[in-house]
Every structure is written in C-alpha cells, then in structure tokens.
Amino acid sequence: MSGGTFVGMPAFPKAAHEAVHNQTLRGNLRHATHTIRAKRANAVAEVSDWAELREAGKQIKDHTLRHLDRYLVQLEESVTAAGGTVHWAADADEANRIVTYLVKATGESEVVKVKSMATQEIGLNEALEAEGINAYETDLAELIVQLGKDRPSHILVPAIHRNRGEIREIFTREMSEWGRPAPEGLTDTPAELADAARLHLREKFLRAKVGVSGANFMVAETGTLVVVESEGNGRMCLTLPETLISVVGIEKIVPTWQDLEVFLQTLPRSSTAERMNPYTSTWTGTTDEDGPQSFHLVLIDNGRTDTLADEVGRQALRCIRCSACLNVCPVYERAGGHAYGSVYPGPIGAILSPQLRGIDNEIDASLPYASSLCGACYDVCPVAIDIPEVLVHLRERVVQGGAVTREGAKVVLKPAKGHAAERAAMRAARWAFSHPGALRTGQRMASRTRRFHPRSLPGPGKAWSETRSLPAVPAEPFRDWWQRTQGGKDTSK
C-alpha cells in the first residue's frame, strides 16, 4: 500500500537489536521517558476525577466510532457552512494529490507545516518535494529531525534521540542550506539553540502564504478544528498564511463542543504532564480578516475503515496521540522509536501500524511482538485502550491467519510460516484471555520482582496510583523477553 514512508526498514526485532546496542540513544531515551513519566504522575494526581475522565473519554470515542458515518457527514456540513471546503481521501496517494493540487492552485512553491502525524503517515513532505514544493517543518523537534535528514522517534518529542551537542552540530551545518544560517559561535545551551530556531523559522513564517496542519480534534456539531501545542509555531501556521490546509484522520471526531472538556483535561496531563499546554487554537471555517481566508479540510481514511472493521482492534482508533504509553513501555525505552518502522512508535504503534497497513509484510507482522504484555500502556492510556488485548489479537492473526479487511474488502490471511513457537505461545495467550483471572495473576504479574513493588503509592501519589495509572514494573525484563521470543532466532551479531 502507498504512503509507506519507512520502506526499506528492517523488521522490529532486527532494528531493535541494533538500537539496544546504541549507548547514546538508550541513555537519551531513558532520561526522557523517566522524566516525563514522573512528571505525568503528579499532573494526573492533581485531578481527583481522573478515572471518571478516562472512562468518559473512552465512551465518547467509542460512541463516535460506532456512528462514524453520521458524524463525518455532520462534520462536513458544519465545516462547509462555516466557509471551509471538505475533501475526502481514501488513501495516502489521493491525500497527497489533493494537497499538492491545492498548494499549486495558490501559485506557491513553499508551505509551512505544523507537526502532524497524519501528514507523516502519508509521506506528504516527500510527495510535495517531488512536485517542486518545499515543506518546512516548524516544530522545533521536527525541524531538528528534518535538518538532520532523520526520522522522528517519539510522538511528542520527535528528536528525543538527539542530545544538545548533536543538535548544535545539525543547526550549524544545515540551517544555511534552507534560509537564515545559525548565528556565529552558536553554543549548545538549549536557550541559544531555541533562539537560533526562532530566527531561522520566523523568516519563513512572515512570508508564508500556505500553511499545512493536522488537528487534535474536530467537532462534528460546530465544524471546529483544534490544535494543541506549546511553541506557537502552530499558531503561526494557522493564522499568518492566506490558505490553510488541514489533513486529518477520519477518527479524530468528537460529537459536540462540550466533549472537548474531557480531552482538554486529559490530553495535556497525559502528554506533557502539564495542567494545560501553553497554546490551544480552535478555528471554525474562516473568519473575516482574521487568519486564513481559504480553508481546506482533507479527511483521510488510509486504512482507518479497515481498522474500524475489526471489532477488537477498532479501539486503537480512540487514540488521542498523547504518547503516555511510549513513556512507560520497557520495550520502547530500550529499542527507541525508529525500530518500529512507522510514524507511530511504541505500544500504540505496535497495534495501529499493522492495522493501518496490514500485517502481510515483515515489519508489520513483527510489530505485535514488540511488547512484553506488561500492561503498563493500558494503565496510563487516557482513553483506556487495552493495548495488550489488541496485541494478542493481532499475534493470533499473524500466526493463525484469518479474516481481515483490506481496502474495504474481506480477505483471508494465510498463517505465517516458521512461527511454531509463537503458535504455542498463542494458544497459551488465548487461554489466558478467556480466563481473565488467570491473565491478571499470570501474565501481568509474572515478573519475579514485580509482586514486591507496591501497586499504590504513599502520600500525594496515592490518588493517582489508585486510578491504576501506576506504570507498573515490567512484567518481564526486556532481556528475558528478548531471549524467549526473538533473541534466539535473530542474533545477527
């Protein structure tokens, strides 16, 4: 299928194997995930109704997905009534064609972009470049990734695998290629690096005529789009250009304006561990003489309806991309985002990518194994996606084959070859899932040390851990998991 921006990636086990041996990467990742994890705990503990917010978020999203056709049509009507134009794209190629056409119609050959996973998923930058259009990433981390000719490794902090020395080096070397060069004598202090990015990008913002964004939410009732961010680059792209093109997955709908009250509380706390992110922008169509005078919404399917057709797997579409599951995942912490071979790394990537792209290639067939099934990802997820349940379900598909939906049509997958061991493991896992008590005491409590760790924290952490958000100690050390599942058969070193 098209839009595979990571074609040529090795499958997870091999990529992870290499990442685990990269000391810098591991050090950076460990520091980052542990820091965010600890801060998040405090942010969540501040709200006494976290469990209720989480349940409401889950239910709102489930309801929306169960009536997605109705809400899509309503959204289209309200966006159109507010002065916007709605386009529909069945796959990545079509989405890229639409955006390219819209940009060319303005006569421009450059666009400024707000960080958006949807546009990464479809490979928009590359598609625009092929048509002679430069797309500038304006999020600081995305800029670091783009200038470093690199791939993002985390949903929230895409350049988390780079340290300050590497960033200084990238800026000094690359900025002049693209516009304003890095200042003379740039040091590696974060403040100076941020300032260099400010100057470099401001030049682009002030002349940009076309902005491209995604959206965190779309409100069906009002036609409002919402972008949540920290730096202000989002606001720049959403308000300075004359034309705004937003590329959004069809699952990002909430039915009503009131529903935002749930997600605007859970997203920032889960994501950056803040009470509220520095900037949230909402726009409803166009407004006279304030912001873009032409607004296009490109709704993309690209595998989402196939995911929706899977009654177990469809819960992955509830995801609000907060990245909390990455920060608690023992496998992600060691393997890094690149190993997942997809724009969606970590636990959510392990269930979303194989569903969006199909599990008929080596990378995607290996992703459901990129987990120790410790359950920490489920515990932190603000919309309660049972990632382990979906992982086991997808493993079963890989091993045993079965009916799946591809591009709207039912197809029957053949069982993967050479997975005899996994087949045995699958039988055990299926048994466990039909015996929930055994699963809890068995799989999720299997670690040799885990039972000695308190499930509830004393003091201020108490309210938080009581909502089951405590990132549990991994059920099984990664190394053990590695030995048991993949290590034996993929030792290239």
Binding site: L68, D69, M236, L240, Q258, M276, P278, D290
Partner: protein, 216 residues
Amino acid sequence: MSGSRDLILARVRRALADVPPDDTPYEQAFERPYLREHGHRSVAETVDLLAENLADYRALVHRCTAGELAATIARLLAERGSAAVSVPTGLDPRWLAATEVTQVPDSAANTPAELDRVDSVVTACAVAIAETGTIVLDGGPDQGRRRITLVPDHHICVVRVPDQVVSSVPQGLERVDPARPLTWISGPSATSDIELDRVEGVHGPRTLEVVLVSGE
C-alpha cells in the same frame, strides 16, 4: 472527489455492520460522571488560584484596581523598553492613557513583517480558567486578531477579576463561542524539545504579563 467520499462512507458502514441500527443516541450513550470543578473555593480563592497557576507556568502576574490600571500598563511597557505597542481597536482607550509609547492600531492591512517590528501588545481576554492557569482570547474587539498576540515578543493581558474568572475547563468552554477563533494561552511559549530542558519562547511571545484588575 465525491467518489472517495461515497467510498469511505460505504466502508465505514460496512465496517460497522455489528452495530445495531437502534444503538443508543448521543444523549444517552454515556454519562459524564466527572467533576464540573475540582474542590470548593471562595471567589477570592479562585482568583488566587488563577494567579498561582499562571505564575507556576512562568507568566508574570500583577494585581491592581481599575484606577491603577493605566499607570500599571505604562510602567510595564516602560520597564520593557517598548517603543511600539499593538492595540486592538476596541480596547478601552483609558488603559493606555498613561503611556507615551507609539500605538499601532490592529488592522487587517498590517503585514506580518510590520507586526514583527512591534515590541508589545496589550489586550483584554474573554475568560480565564483558574485550575489550569489559562487565559482564553476570542478575537473580540478588545482582543484583536489572533496574530497580534503572537508575533510581538511581549504580551500584556488584562483580566477583570472576579467576573472573567471561572474555575475549570468545563466552565471555560461553556463561556466561549465555538464560532469565534479561540486562542487558549497557558504561560508563555515554551519548548522542551532539547533534552527536555524547558526553554521559554520559541515562536510566541517570550514574556506574558497578566494584570488582574479588580473594581470598575
């Protein structure tokens, strides 16, 4: 493109074959068991919480009475060394009565580059949320276009207390009109992209000053 519209909607409907057609409508589909606000506070305590949370996110918070507002704004602009300030067309002219700084009225004709040469901006707000330390702008006449609070490096925002202050996000959403373009601001622009060190200001104003003004 209507081909793809119909194709996608048909795929959605086929994918949802398991959902009964009489599935519960939105109003009854789920409950909202979460709180409308967190904790019980007096009006004064809510304002204090706003001030505290704004400061926690590195906004500079000042308090004064309506009578002192013009002098306060004049002082903040002077301390900053501003030469030019952007002014929304509906801003109460008395607020800027005590400053000599050149006033640049908000206008659709101003180019982004012109705005980039302005040092400061003074606006009112639509509502402020205490629990999260958030001020919400809705582009009203006393707040101006979205870009004037974005491009200049220094934003002074005036919040009338207590009437513009609510406790929580749910109460804040209720008070604003989704048809207007909204900007929610919690502290100045910030990034943690470099080794997770928080740095103020990448693109938005690096200094946010909030003046809580009481009495009228």
